[in-house]
Symmetry: C2
Subunit: 359 residues, 2 copies
């Protein structure tokens, strides 16, 4: 979208220049602690890697020997350097002493910081995490295309679920259909799908998906990762015959969801929209209204205090829900692209209550 002709790396370098930071370092040394920034700038995410982006000049990607061949094949960063035995010594040689260094404070651990301080002598460290967040919030056209495609595949999978709905006996079968179809389309899953039927639908993060399909609402929440970019959809369908009251509750939620989407606009405060929805739905709405979407399934936009103003090129989910513990839950979720020219709902599956008669 925005600033399409200036690469993401150049945009970060402009920020570094403005803030008078010499170089930024992104570390990826722990399987449980990924800094997706490395992927964001390089298109690869080798284990044991470090991305160095200086204020000026070419970035370097340090990778372990066992990742070298693969990285050189696929990385957008051409300057691939081999990880040495003593990484911090190597880093200090590359960076030099007495520097102003940008770090992603949201991912760098206290242990890593200790080692950085010890080896990069007399250097000062600055938090660039919010700058990275701000960059990532505004998607490029290429990113939007990938998410649009992910959403399209997601819609197709949902159609197949509905087409086969009468045949399902267990939640697991729906999960398996999602997995198989994602794979057929060259995608992985964005996250572990949620298929909660009957009273399981009241748990927003239900992941067992291993009960018989019971009469009542069934929350189906899933997404795919296409070329590194995620989609995220929820539809709630009904097995059996809903009562009038159940139908009412469904359509009331749908009304709230559509109203919320209408309010979404560049410059609007998403926190306010979240509050308004919360006012209508009350205590049965137990999570936030949505979240940014991109190379992470949850990107820090949304109801976060300081990052809730919607920007041109943002993609976020809008997913109000109501939950009645041990009884049932309903959630309806779309992915919305926000632009100056208006919004686009990227997930296009029907939101009418789909009723699957049980015979």
């Amino acid at each position: 979208m925005k600033k399409e002709k200036i690469s993401k790396i150049k945009q970060l370098q402009d920020i570094l220049s403005k803030k008078n930071i010499d170089v930024s370092i992104f570390l990826n040394f722990d399987e449980n602690k990924k800094d997706k920034t490395v992927y964001y700038f390089s298109d690869v995410e080798p284990e044991f890697s470090c991305l160095i982006i200086p204020k000026k000049g070419n970035p370097k990607l340090i990778v372990a020997k066992l990742e070298e061949e693969l990285t050189k094949k696929e990385s957008k960063i051409r300057n691939v350097v081999l990880l040495e035995k003593d990484f911090f010594k190597q880093l200090s040689r590359i960076i030099g002493k007495n520097k102003k260094i940008g770090l992603n404070f949201k991912t760098v651990s206290l242990s890593e910081k200790k080692l950085l301080s010890k080896h990069l002598k007399k250097s000062k460290f600055f938090d660039v995490s919010n700058d990275i967040t701000d960059l990532r919030i505004q998607k490029t056209d290429d990113e939007i295309d990938k998410i649009r495609k992910a959403c399209k595949i997601t819609d197709e999978i949902f159609s197949k679920i509905i087409l086969n709905a009468k045949s399902f006996r267990n939640e697991k079968e729906i999960e398996e259909l999602i997995e198989n179809e994602a794979k057929k389309n060259g995608c992985s899953l964005a996250f572990s799908p949620i298929v909660g039927s009957g009273k399981n639908s009241s748990m927003p993060h239900y992941k067992d998906n291993n009960s018989e399909i019971k009469k009542g609402f069934c929350v189906i929440d899933f997404g795919v990762r296409y070329q590194g970019y995620n989609s995220d959809i929820t539809r709630t369908i009904y097995f059996g015959t809903p009562s009038e009251k159940e139908k009412e509750e469904y359509y009331r939620l749908l009304g709230v969801q559509e109203e919320a989407i209408k309010k979404i606009k560049v410059g609007e405060d998403f926190k306010k929209i979240d509050k308004a929805v919360r006012k209508v739905l009350g205590d049965s709405f137990i999570h936030s209204l949505g979240h940014g979407l991109g190379i992470d399934v949850h990107e820090r936009v949304s109801t976060d205090n300081k990052r809730s103003l919607l920007k041109d090129g943002t993609i976020l989910t809008v997913e109000p829900g109501v939950y009645h513990t041990s009884k049932f839950g309903i959630r309806i979720e779309d992915d919305v692209l926000v632009t100056k020219r208006g919004n686009e709902i990227l997930t296009k599956s029907s939101k009418k209550l789909i009723i699957i008669k049980i015979t």
Copy 2:
């Protein structure tokens, strides 16, 4: 194994008492930064959670409302508390001021630390990451049983691969068999399987798995996660007819692997064994000899400087390999349980070179 009758939580509390630390806190607020410690002690890993283990008394698990129902169902920690809007305020109310607080410095980010310091006034923070590592290195009988079972399933999957080997045309088909069989056995994958045939076998972390199966060595590296615990095996098979030289190289590596396993003993330094293997294999051996195995696929044992002494109850992989860039690679990996009574190789698949004739 060891200290079976004292729970893991009690073991940590003993450490806290000894170090005069009032309470330890483990944070899980970021999908890209999991502190597996929460899972280790509670058997659940809710998103947006915080585990509080005081020096004395009952631990508390703080979880978001949307995780409450599920957590109460499955958590070993009975004291489940709801996350409040202002988490850090809540934490400061629970913990109090002026405390000595243990943190996992390997996972707490600089941003989190900033907020902790701001809200837990006058408190001092201490690194308990090595204590946690030391606890986790020594598996309990229950943990060993789970990993043993994971290894058994892994062996069965490998048998099926061999049984069907003649029918495979593409690496992807082997990957799919692994995925499907894991699922059938109630497991998820420990990691993205590696199936590299022909020259793809020279990339230790090859994950595309999307080429036609080519003549030559084929590295198959995979594992399953059974009830939270991982296995990790590699076998290298041969499609076509290997030359005498290729056979020699395979059996030479196997000899080195078996020799390394023989050296493994309680009290032995794994770093030394790694060094010895490196001496024999030279520059074509481009990763470490192995790693600890448990709720993480890579646990910090192994060739890490300070944690390389093998302890009673450790489970680790032994996986030397040789790689010739753009030509071929061979790797052989087993999971080994180290005990005072002797070792047990948990992965039992044959290590003879399996040759699949291509017709």
